[in-house]
Amino acid sequence: MSSNTRSNAAHYVAPIEETPLVAVDSVKASGRVSNLWTDAWADLRKRPMFWISSVLIVLITFVALFPGLFTSEPPSSGCYLENSNGGPEAGHPLGFTKQGCDVFSRIVHGAATSLSVGIIVTILILVLGITFGALAGFYGGWVDSVLSRVGDIFFSIPYILAAVVVMSVLSQYRNVFVIALAIGLFAWPSTSRVLRAEILRVKNSDYVMSATAIGVSRFKILLRHVLPNSIAPVIVVTTIGLAGAIVAEATLSFLGVGLPNTIMSWGNDISAAQRDLRNNPMTLIYPSIALSLTVLSFIMLGEVLRDALDPKARATR
């Protein structure tokens, strides 16, 4: 493709001092012992958004790890139809579901499952998505062809089919890991494509060319310069994808291929509550709020992390 579409006069070949690479280097020159991570930490400490989101995440993690501290109801306490759709009362601050289960204690006990599903899926997507996307985008050529087409095949498989097959074949092991596998194994291609596109753009930057010129190894360039500069959209997609994973668990429960309902999860709760949406919408709203708060804290954390890790964004503040 010819480059005659250049109306963007700003893309002149900049002297090296003007490139972001120098911005990174200039931090080094400031005298204190620093690297990407210590810089990021110094930056993070000063941001209230970081603290708010961290406190929220720690709190949610705490709830997930020690549900007993937050509700006196043990997970095994039964659901009684005589309480069906009952409003809040002493000891049951959020009322009851249609089956007569205590809404609040279910949310507390479901935190561990939902958080785990979200995090495991996210890690799975990140690992697969970054590996495939980075290698395909950076090396191009046949590497790109093979990896991208493998991604296309995985992406084209309807996730309902995938989930039904995975969960049926592994029906003896319907646990958090299996459901995370069923969701994550077929969701990574979108992340890898977004990363690949960003790398295609970034790898032609002047600082990458400069690094190549001074003899830095290709792989090192990818890790040190290209990835950090192209990770921003991945963070955005992933933090939102975390919510998607938790909600996907709800959809799978709804289709009967989710976790057995002996395992409490927000997804199971939301899926059960939707059947009674017309009569008692609150049983659906409460777990959704828990889900929103969790996602919000991860989005906020992702946001500040991105800012802190992105040398360009820091340099311009």
């Binding site: 960003e198 295609l200 939102i240 709804f254």
Partner: protein, 309 residues
């Protein structure tokens, strides 16, 4: 350039075989006998079962079934569904409907998502930015069936602005409401992606350069910031187009859209191998084309990206 496109088209061949084989295998691996299910709760006589299995080639080994299917495709025969319709007819009937629905959703999420994302990015941390985040959060933390149900109830049944379900022939006008519902899923991602890219681009030297050169904001924003921010967004839109083409099962169900999502879901649940595989095959071909177009489009957005050595 032509060479690049040709290579990509050739790559579609292994993808075609890979996908069809994988999907056929997955349908084959689905536990349960689809023929038995045709009889409901009543247990049929084994003799009839045998007859029907033979009729749909289900009595043959997996690899034979697959080869028979592939052989059929090259003769233009995509197989027959349990209801006796040629799968090719089902494809021809449902894909245009879903395509219309996907386009509506895509345009809505693109226009609204990019616009809101752009303003959020330019006014980072301001009230608009925070409000946009809250709205996005609501959409992503509610399952699609809830959003669809609420939209249908409020806009169609209470306010009467639209039909509650899609009418005969699935005209464009009936697809707008389900299209909006579908757009809410990805609105959040597009809005956040645009915002993040805009923030990043705003800090780049060429933008600062342009600003220092005295270029007006009206020119800097669309030409310099937006264009440089679009690559991840366009990529995501392409990915999302694929998702929309195949994954709108729930929304199509609630609005009774006679499209791909529902038909495919039913076929999966019923274990109709030829139908499932044919749908996914068409799907993957569309997806390959879209990805190729997007890859070519990158070069338009950023001239530094080149595919020709």
């Amino acid at each position: 350039m032509t060479g690049y496109i040709l290579r990509r088209v050739l790559q579609a061949i292994p993808v075609f075989f890979g996908t069809t084989f994988l999907i056929y295998f997955m349908v084959f691996a689905l536990p349960g006998d689809p023929i038995l299910a045709l009889f409901g709760d009543k247990t049929p006589n084994p003799a009839v079962l045998e007859q029907l299995r033979a009729q749909y080639n289900l009595d043959k080994p997996f690899i034979v079934q697959y080869l028979l299917y592939i052989g059929g495709i090259f003769r233009g025969d995509f197989g027959v569904s349990f209801s006796g319709q040629p799968v090719s007819e089902i494809l021809a009937r449902t894909f245009p409907v879903t395509l219309r629905l996907a386009l509506i959703a895509l345009v809505i999420e693109m226009v609204v998502g990019i616009a809101v994302g752009l303003v959020s990015g330019l006014r980072k941390g301001k009230l608009f930015d925070s409000s946009a985040l809250v709205v996005s959060l609501i959409f992503i933390s509610l399952p699609i069936f809830v959003i669809a149900f609420v939209f249908q109830y409020v806009f169609a049944i209470q306010l009467g602005w639209a039909r509650p379900t899609v009418g005969s022939g699935a005209p464009w006008s009936d697809l707008i409401l389900p299209g909006i519902v579908l757009a809410t899923i990805s609105f959040a991602q597009i809005q956040r992606l645009t915002r993040s890219s805009v923030i990043e681009s705003s800090g780049l030297d060429f933008v600062r350069t342009a600003a220092s050169k005295g270029l007006s904001r009206r020119r800097i924003v669309p030409v310099h910031i937006l264009r440089n921010s679009l690559i991840p967004v366009v990529t995501f839109l392409a990915v999302d187009f694929g998702t929309l083409m195949v994954g709108a099962t729930v929304t199509e169900g609630i609005f009774n859209v006679p499209g791909v999502g529902n038909t495919l879901y039913q076929a999966i649940i019923r274990g109709e191998g030829p139908t499932v595989v044919s749908f996914v095959t068409v799907m993957v071909l569309i997806y390959l084309v879209v990805n190729l177009v997007v890859d070519l489009f990158y070069a338009v957005l950023d001239p530094r990206i080149r595919y020709v050595k």
